[in-house]
């Protein structure tokens, strides 16, 4: 691979310096099956070089304010549509002490009710549950609501002449459906999800057709760090060489591409099947081919990996191999899918806490949530989305596996061991970072202008919401 010394001039504009190795776009341009427009574009913007104040990670008062300012105004992934396929199916989504019953009220309409009785407040469904309801009846005194949110009954209505049942509909958060995901937003005044994501990133998401995938695996675990640290550990490939040395021989880490779209979406593209610029001259194409890691290596079968042909690059051979393998494993037609989509890692953040990975070999969704009782802890979930089989029969979405606080990702049934090991490496740093920030004499994070732009972009959105006045849900405004 050629390693030209370019784009490193001292007098470049701030943010314009790049790794001198071949660029992500140039790697992808050489592929046989060409990538679509959403892959072959760049959207980087320099956003400054100032330190990020660390109070946001370590101050409990900051976390408390986030619940009133940030979480009440932003679009959040609550569940997949496949979790609630039928009318009356529901799924309880919790964020901090907020809780919602997300339910399908008709074939095309989903609602999200504040999960609390309008009598004396009891949750209408326990957190962490799902099911099918013909009504939402409170377990305390039996007040009940229809699936459409209208009040069904008040026990002993003679004692409540002051309760007009028409005014006691279940309050709702706003709901939007996109790519098979159900999003909610507590703010009646927030922009639509489309406007929030913005036209460019929205076009990317629509192109992926994630509604045609199903949840094949869902694993969660709690970590001893603030939710934002947890997120930021996954927003750059800068850490790969130190944190995941086993991956670097087959990952274009330092020459990954970083982009931002509007205020709420950012991404990186990290190529696979190419050697890390850190290791140029140290590994051969055959080494690259021997060492790649898959999100789901069960597709490989037991066969092991063959030798490269004369003059063949690892990336070429992997594209051919992956196409055949995944078509068979998923019983899906991938003939039109580009090499890049088959191989590379595309990581998108949709503020505040959703990551989408539309690739085929790394087909994940991440969700991060603060621990409601501890600003130094967060809950991380990974979902693997596989294509729905060609015969169109959609498998049931996987039941979430919640790991214990000291368990390894490799212990989750169905988790690829190589991928589980990567997740463990990513998350082992987290408590050290949380504690280090608390111990430090330096009260700011220093960020790379390019490789850590997603972290800066993300924290800029945090700042935007935290500068707004608190906005708590108002049940009267939340009624239809």
């Amino acid at each position: 691979m050629n390693y030209q010394d370019r784009k490193t001039d001292k007098d470049l504009k701030a943010g314009a310096a790049r790794c001198p190795a071949i660029s992500t776009q140039d790697i992808i341009a050489q592929d046989k099956v060409q990538a679509p427009g959403w892959v072959r574009s760049e959207s980087y913007e320099y956003l400054g070089s100032e330190d990020i104040d660390t109070a946001r990670y370590i101050d409990p008062a900051f976390a408390k304010e986030e619940y009133d300012r940030l979480w009440t105004r932003t679009w959040q992934f609550a569940c997949r549509e496949e979790n609630i396929p039928g009318v009356g199916d529901y799924y309880v989504y919790d964020l901090g002490s907020y809780s919602f019953i997300v339910t399908r009220v008709s074939k095309d309409e989903v609602k999200a009710y504040y999960n609390a009785c309008l009598h004396r407040g009891t949750k209408l469904r326990a957190s962490g549950t799902d099911g099918t309801a013909s009504e939402f009846k409170c377990s305390f005194h039996g007040w009940s609501w229809n699936v459409d949110g209208s009040n069904k009954s008040v026990t002993c209505p003679w004692d409540f002449p002051h309760v007009n049942r028409d005014e006691y509909k279940l309050p709702e958060a706003r709901v939007a459906l996109l790519g098979g995901f159900v999003f909610i937003n507590m703010d009646p005044d927030a922009p639509s999800l489309e406007d929030y994501i913005g036209p460019e990133a929205l076009a990317h998401i629509k192109a992926w057709k994630l509604e045609d995938r199903y949840v094949a695996l869902h694993v969660g675990r709690r970590f001893q760090c603030n939710w934002k640290l947890n997120i930021e550990a996954f927003q750059e490939a800068y850490h790969v060489i130190q944190t995941h040395p086993q991956v670097a021989p087959s990952n274009g880490d330092a020459n990954s591409q970083y982009d931002t779209y509007g205020e709420h979406v950012n991404r990186f593209i990290s190529t696979l099947g190419v050697v890390s610029p850190h290791l140029y001259g140290k590994v051969s194409e055959q080494d690259v081919f021997d060492q790649f890691t898959l999100g789901d290596s069960s597709a490989l079968g037991g066969g092991g990996k063959p030798q490269l042909k004369e003059g063949e690059t690892a990336r070429e051979a992997m594209a051919v191999m992956f196409r055949g393998m995944f078509e068979q494993a998923f019983n899906a037609d991938l003939s039109k899918v580009s090499d890049s989509e088959l191989l590379d890692c595309f990581s998108y953040t949709i503020f505040p806490n959703l990551f989408l990975f539309p690739g085929i070999s790394l087909p994940m969704v991440y969700r991060f949530r603060p621990d409601p009782k501890d600003h130094r802890a967060s809950i991380f979930e990974v979902l693997f989305l596989r294509p729905v089989p060609k015969d169109g029969k959609r498998p049931e979405p996987a039941e979430p596996i919640m790991l214990g606080d000291n368990q390894s990702f490799t212990e989750a049934e169905g988790m690829d061991p190589g991928f589980g090991a990567i997740m463990d490496q990513d998350t082992e740093n987290l408590f050290l970072q949380q504690e280090g920030l608390e111990a430090s004499a330096k009260h700011g994070l220093t960020l790379g202008d390019y490789q850590e732009i997603r972290v800066r972009h993300f924290e800029k959105a945090v700042d935007k919401y935290m500068a707004m006045p608190p906005k708590r849900p108002d049940w009267k405004r939340a009624q239809p």
Binding site: G128, G131, K137
Partner: protein, 96 residues
């Protein structure tokens, strides 16, 4: 008591056995017989969702493991009764 062929996979049916309301469940995980009466407030489970070997009470949403009857979520805390079930010559038999 019940012809096995009458109950395709992913379906369930409540039957009366020796004065008890028993729910026969044909889950992808196998056949189970559990009490049809929720341990929380005695409502019937027969219209609840059955998925991943779990039955969900349709009234307040308590969830029970079909295999053991164990209560997995509020508002229930006590298990539901489970019964021995076998299939003999295409007939489902339950011991109550």
């Amino acid at each position: 008591m019940l012809e096995a062929a009458e109950l395709p996979e992913a379906q369930k049916k409540a039957i009366e056995v020796s004065g008890k309301s028993v729910l026969i469940c044909h889950a992808p995980q196998g056949w189970f017989a559990v009490s049809n009466i929720c341990s929380h407030a005695n409502e019937k489970l027969e219209c609840g969702r059955m998925k991943h070997g779990i039955i969900v009470c349709p009234v307040h949403g308590a969830r029970f493991k079909l295999e053991t009857g164990e209560a997995m979520s509020a508002p229930a805390s006590k298990p539901i009764e489970t019964f021995e079930l076998r299939i003999v010559d295409g007939w489902v038999e339950v011991r109550v």
